[in-house]
Amino acid sequence: MNLREAFRAGSREIIANKFRSALSFTAVSVGVASLLYTMAQTRGMEEALEKNLELMGPGRMTVEAKQNYVSKGLSSGLTYSDVLALRRELPDLYMVEPRSAYSSTLVAGRSKIDDVDVWGTTPDFRRRDWVYRLRGRFLNEWDVENRARVVVLIEPAGWVKKPFWAKFWMHDDPYDDFAKRHDLLGESVRLENSIFTVVGVLTPPARDKDPRWESWNTANALVPITVFQQSFTRFSNNPDSVDEIRIDTGDVKTLAARRKQISAILTRRHRGEEDFEIRDEREAIEAKMEDMKKMVKAGLALGIVALLAGGIGIMNVTLATIFARVREIGIRRAIGAGRSDILAQFLLEAALLGAAGGVAGVALGLVGVQWLSGLAGSREIAKITWLHCAEGIALASLVSAAFAFIPAYRASRLDPVEALKAE
């Protein structure tokens, strides 16, 4: 029996029993879709991880005040002097950036905007997160040393394609609204009670193209840390304090060693008080990836279960098909079909049915991945390749054929005389 003919006969059977076929391959297609989604996620995650580690820096850590730490009164907390000391003692560090945040009021011309997020920082800000486009200039060392009243504004990020939830969920930010309509480069603006000159404007990438994990965690305005300490009223009673220090050793290999050195330097400077915590960003990102992997595993389990359920469905349909076609089997046997021909016929039919389910599943998966990555927001995590689609379809037909084996085998063992008597 040649394959092409068996193929044609099989598809004819499937088309003749549309409803039965549709029922049985639904589960298979759900299985394939979720497997496809899972595979896409896994691949997308690997890419995202790499991209993020690259953007974040290989040797990234963040020093921040220890939670719920009650000071003995010896330490004055994290300070800009700590930053300078680290720079002095460990000159090979790629980045040592202080950061403090404050929510301020911005006055530009006749407009007054509340809740503008201002960060105090240094030129080291530009050492990582190279996603911005800059107009004008960034803060420089001179600005920091001389407490120049200059500010770099960060424009709100737009969307290439706005996901549907953003329409309902995103509140209108007054700064975003204002910044979209005014170009303040070169203008003077008032922050709190000081006049600043806008020397530069940073434009982030569109939100759905932003490769960073925490792209939402950005300020609206950047000022030199020294000016920040002077101009923005803080609750801290230490005028030199900073919220956190972001460090990149520049190399993942030096991370652990530098971390110890940094801890030692800071502990000494804080007069023995370990009132800070050093968070390894790589660990954090990997922990996040672990969480995502768990989700992916759940998807994988769902996919396998759905595929198995689909397989059992196919088995059921094959049984029903065979039951309805016992006479046909008898006829085929009588005119010269061997057991292997009968077995092959039903296996092929099941494989075809499974492949049809696989194709439907791939279609469902493609739509689903689009939809889900829209739902997940800005990050395009899922990546589907043609290989995944081919694998999905192959897997579906393989599983179907495997599950059809027992009924098909039983069909092939039918006694021709008995089979011919069936109605």
Binding site: M1, N2, R4, E5, R12, E13, A16, R327, E328, G330, I331, R332, R333, A334, I335, G336, A337, G338, R339, S340, D341, P416, V417, L420
Partner: protein, 218 residues
């Protein structure tokens, strides 16, 4: 050498019912033999054994001089496919296939090329007088026409032996006469024909009649 030679053939079903109780006869090459007898006498069982669809419980069955008892299922299938053509009372055509595809099917199982199969199927259908209806499905054909397709299919792999189980049982008298004429023509061309029938007219037409009663030759 006889086409068929059976000796002391018995067939006992599970539960002990004995359909054949020791039947011996032979059919020479080119014979036209009718097996006759009342309902339930075992003639269909005999025909199934002759057609290698069923196996005897005891006795010997030599097909073209070769013992069949020791063959396994694959060998039996190969023999059935190449040496035997089966014609059924209920036609037993596959309803979704056209007349041409039905006739070509045994050749497909024999491994013939598609073009060869279609050409031979067309030739056979023309031979049985259905050259104009090769693309019709069984449902678009009359009873007599269906049986012609059945006969054409039985001839597909050039068998040595044509077996028919009540081939006219489901047909009106006009079609019966035509089908019988077709069998006689085939026999005249040298085909060995064995058929089971109730119809005395067919019995009279056959060169030889084997009568069975209660599983024994009468």
């Amino acid at each position: 050498m006889n086409a068929i030679s059976v000796d002391g053939l018995t067939r006992t079903y599970l539960g002990g019912y004995q359909a054949l109780k020791g039947v011996s006869f032979s059919v020479a090459k080119g014979d036209f033999t009718a097996i006759m007898g009342p309902s339930g006498c075992g003639k269909s069982t005999l025909l199934n054994i002759l057609g290698l669809l069923d196996r005897p419980t005891g006795g010997k069955y030599l097909l073209e001089g070769a013992e069949t008892a020791r063959l396994d299922d694959a060998e039996i299938t190969a023999l059935r496919r190449s040496r035997i053509g089966f014609v059924f009372q209920a036609f037993n055509l596959l309803p979704r296939l056209s007349a041409l595809e039905n006739v070509a099917l045994p050749m497909a199982y024999a491994g013939a090329e598609v073009d060869e199969r279609r050409a031979r199927a067309r030739e056979l259908l023309t031979r049985v007088g259905l050259g104009a209806k090769v693309e019709n499905t069984p449902l678009q054909l009359s009873g007599g026409e269906r049986q012609r397709v059945g006969i054409a299919r039985a001839l597909a792999n050039k068998p040595a032996l044509l077996l028919a189980d009540e081939p006219t049982g489901n047909l009106d008298s006009k079609s019966s006469v035509e089908i019988l004429a077709l069998f006689k023509e085939l026999n005249a061309e040298g085909m060995t024909v064995v058929l089971v029938t109730h119809d005395p007219a067919i019995g009279a037409a056959a060169g030889k009649v084997i009568r069975i009663k209660d599983g024994l030759l009468a």
